[in-house]
Symmetry: D2
Subunit: 185 residues, 4 copies
Amino acid sequence: MRDEKIIVTGDIISHHARTKLQERGVEIDAIAEIVYALQHPYAPNLTMAECVESVDAVLIKREIQHAILVGIELDVLAEEGRLSEPLLSLITGDEGLFGVDETIALGSVFGFGSIAVTSFGYLDKEKTGIIRELDRSTDQVNTFLDDLVCSIAANASARLAHRLRDRDEATTVVIRKPEDEELIG
Amino acid sequence: MRDEKIIVTGDIISHHARTKLQERGVEIDAIAEIVYALQHPYAPNLTMAECVESVDAVLIKREIQHAILVGIELDVLAEEGRLSEPLLSLITGDEGLFGVDETIALGSVFGFGSIAVTSFGYLDKEKTGIIRELDRSTDQVNTFLDDLVCSIAANASARLAHRLRDRDEATTVVIRKPEDEELIG
Amino acid sequence: MRDEKIIVTGDIISHHARTKLQERGVEIDAIAEIVYALQHPYAPNLTMAECVESVDAVLIKREIQHAILVGIELDVLAEEGRLSEPLLSLITGDEGLFGVDETIALGSVFGFGSIAVTSFGYLDKEKTGIIRELDRSTDQVNTFLDDLVCSIAANASARLAHRLRDRDEATTVVIRKPEDEELIG
Amino acid sequence: MRDEKIIVTGDIISHHARTKLQERGVEIDAIAEIVYALQHPYAPNLTMAECVESVDAVLIKREIQHAILVGIELDVLAEEGRLSEPLLSLITGDEGLFGVDETIALGSVFGFGSIAVTSFGYLDKEKTGIIRELDRSTDQVNTFLDDLVCSIAANASARLAHRLRDRDEATTVVIRKPEDEELIG
């Protein structure tokens, strides 16, 4: 059905992704707190503001916004019993061997490198902060949402790790070869 | 909602995954033909029966069955206009930068190694056989299904490549160290 | 240089992969202990023998044997100072943002599904048992090896999770549709 | 050996990665030509300058620079017979089922989304332009390099696809909600 293609602009998607996160009870600050807990040991001077900024930056990525829209949609449809069986039971029961929730979340994790992947795996198992609340919630289906939050937090954390390194290096005196100069990110 | 966990047995999921593929117009033989086209150049004696057998073997994997259930469900919900915006437009329009369909399909491709990943990428771009029919269909939304078929075909193809190698090696005389003997797959 | 292609049989590779693991101080039992720790909470009756069997099964996979050969080779070459700079410093220093070690290990993790990926991430951060010993070793470069062990343990653990589920289901009475019967793994 | 950690600054790595590509016969323009061929059908006004710019931008990423350093090092070591067997034969013979080269290249492809992954798979199979030259070379081992070039080209191509979309949207009149305004990439 490519002919009747509709263009949905990035800012409409961005707006909906952020709104849906909030509607499902996930505030940016709650994700930022997980980022802070992950990165603070390596960066003692890290501020919550930097963590919030990093979460915001991650939420700009199309890949992540799309994952959020799909994941939350499936959670809501499952909650309202509007999915067919056996998928409905797989999702409402958060079946242990059902991995599509991790797969969708992982899709956007790869974008931030292998540190993000390992952090995602760690958060998915440890379930700290808001992730645990989502996982334990009895009045909402969060099968996809808790993995999405792991993904956003892992990405924001990995992004920070790279940024902090870049900042450190910028302060170290290095003889730069001219051809590199303009290439440093 | 883990407490009220429902166990959906593997054979129920397997049955539904295969049935839904058929309901959406994808026969095992059509996938096997793609596998044959991919592997025949490397294995002149390859038979269609071996390709069908490999597709069947791939469809036993939980990871793939789950991906099929989720992907086809989203296609059907989009077709019936039962998804919220802007997700509905993203899926019905098969938006070029929307990658969750590839992500879900890729999740099960990794299971068959890097050859499967490259074959998936190739099929996703070349869209041979049934994949092209699905991509061009005007009476069905196949945003997720065409990627799922790429995934199943790529997996069955990679699986065959490994099996054929194993068979070749089994026929070559090799002095095997006892401790390996029982480990040969 | 495809013309002069040499076929290295699977059992030679298998033998070398297992031998190199041992030479670098990694016994199958040490990996099996990590598997046991990961799966025991979900399977009280789990035995160490089953964990050893699962590690052995994982080590049969070509993808993993190849990863082991490449990873350990790079560790040894770095140890002996036989790599060029700056790669040598990146590997000997186990540079935090250097992710090729995780990437190579992850390549074989995907093969065992998303549970394996999350377990890998968890182990890579928690570094339990032999993984910690490798990470802290001062007389060996284990930049790649510790990730490889995380990968093998995560894979063997995920494989067990699926097998145990299959075993449970086999004991539950289910009316199976004939067409599924022969497809159940 | 974390204690004696050496910090290798990003610009040193960046310089070496680009230099090694050149030393092995891969010019930025040759990669840009592949990017142009991939994206031109979707963007008629695309210029080679934009493709070169995109390749340069991709080469800034640490993940890719690290992959280049490791991959080319292994090619050179294999070429000089300085790897142990059976790894040496696996790499010099570019063994079909050896997938660590694709794995390392894929590690940096994920960073640019699922479009990059499918483009990578396509290039890895089609082997256009410089990729084919590398694949057919008889005086150099390019087992890892050809996959690295597929990766860089796929990433630069996917990056362009997203940029071109952003540019299109910027020119379309959209009522933006204030809270989105600063978030548009």
